[in-house]
Symmetry: C2
Subunit: 261 residues, 2 copies
DNA sequence: CCTGATGCTTCCGCAATTCAAAACCGTCTC
DNA sequence: GAGACGGTTTTGAATTGCGGAAGCATCAGG
């Protein structure tokens, strides 16, 4: 998915970084080589460079590469500056506390949804979303809420980035059916996740809009089917919209996604 | 090859990235140019590249650059793979719950301490708000605990990276006095922060050692002088050492700091 | 032991990318 | 409307990154 359009060495290095982090475990060069588009010496050199820069850490014993801690400290500034999280924190805390349900805050990045904060009501199901996790936009409540309120052009671009993998029976598998739902979401103002990403998990999501009408993220209330029905989630709608509006009002000027043409 | 040898475009790009994140707010190119070592067109091109790669986000209105959300998602993998946090989580949770004090988990990166997890007495969950922060090693409990147990060579290298800024009256201001304390810490097994970084904040810290004797991080119990005295912290020593030992036992193989010689 | 297989590392000539001076353009100020 | 200021583009030179091929380690089986 990483379109390595001639953006130079930096792009290549970052693509390797992506590849390593995507593996989800320490990896040897051999494994990377199999899926890499780069020839061996090039890959080797890039790994060297990234390791020198501490973006990767290298285990001398196992000869494996893993993401480096430097990323963790970089993310701290990113999180506190580039994300809605600091602004939204008090509001989603309040919402979570009053409803006793899980609240998620997400933003769009390269067609994917990035969860930038979350509140758990109980620790019963722990494996929902964790800060920094990414998920597809086309089959999550927050994703659809954002997509539905994107300007035409950006929306088209984002739709092109969707993979439309079928996670469950309810997952959208084409841009056409998704687009139809997005229109409905746009007019209604909220989006539902009807077990489209994971069986048993549903959510109601609202977009976060600035006063200029730009969508900068989304909030959702997520729960399990054995706790609530979709109709039941509807009861949360006013509180959710309220919360989203409060956040939007505070998120005055926000970066435009700066899509390179 | 030398250690500080800058390798290539990637290094330059990352240095710009660092500079932007370090500013702590959206910045214009002009501001970066003032402190940058790069001439204008070069800086411009690097910013372009980083923005294309979504490591930076660009606000068209204000013409400002800020860290990009991509960093947040990258950090997620880094945190869950490269850090001790996932392994240590249950143990520091238990420690925090039983003592009702703040627990910090930290690792060393480039001579600095990176907090990879924290537990407040009140809050259960880790968010990026509190993780990812960096602090100097020479004037924090966790930092000194780690430094004291580093192999000779790495220790020397780390000491060379310390700035020895005087934060409080108790701050070490030279490698000599620090080294003396490190020896003591090494034999005693715990380190104290005697208001060396911030007035009113003290802590007791223990290194996390693998079964091979390598130090991979540190845990600390931090508190305020109006809650406890340094002697009072001593009461926590057994529990702290216990916790550190448990974590160390589980942290089997860990990456060596991969210093390119 | 030797030998072949596997995978990491280094060499080195060629070519592409990066570099930065200078010029250009858009906007804001007086 | 002129001047200043900051951002963007152009361009020739040369640094750098590139990657085929060869060189090492390490390990397994003979």
């Amino acid at each position: 998915m990483n379109v390595v359009t001639s953006d130079g060495t930096v792009a290549k290095a970052l693509s390797v970084l992506d590849q390593v982090t995507a593996m989800g475990r320490p990896v040897r060069m051999r494994e990377l080589l199999e899926t890499s588009e780069f020839p061996k010496p090039t890959l080797y050199r890039l790994l060297q460079t990234l390791t020198n820069q501490r973006m990767l850490s290298y285990d001398k014993e196992q000869q494996t590469y893993a993401p480096g801690i430097r990323l963790v400290s970089l993310a701290h500034s990113a999180w506190s500056q580039a994300s809605l999280a600091p602004i939204a924190a008090p509001h989603i805390s309040a919402l979570g506390a009053s409803l006793r349900e899980a609240i998620h805050l997400a933003q769009l990045d390269n067609g994917q949804v990035v969860f930038v904060d979350k509140r758990q009501a109980s620790n019963r199901f722990a494996t929902l979303a964790r800060t920094g996790q990414v998920a597809p936009a086309y089959c999550t409540g927050v994703g659809k809420a954002i997509l539905a309120h994107l300007p035409k052009e950006e929306q088209a671009q984002a739709l092109r980035q969707q993979a439309f993998l079928k996670y469950t029976d309810a997952t959208h598998t084409s841009a056409e059916t998704l687009l139809r739902e997005l229109e409905q979401i746009h007019s209604e103002g909220v989006a539902f996740d009807r077990e489209e990403h994971e069986v048993g998990i549903i959510s109601i999501a609202a977009p976060i809009l600035t006063n200029t009408g730009r969508v900068v993220g989304a909030v959702s209330i997520a729960t399990a089917t054995n706790r609530h029905t979709l109709d039941g989630l509807n009861a949360f709608r006013p509180a959710l919209l309220d919360c989203a509006a409060l956040i939007g009002a505070e998120a005055q000027s926000w970066q435009s996604p700066s899509v390179p043409s």
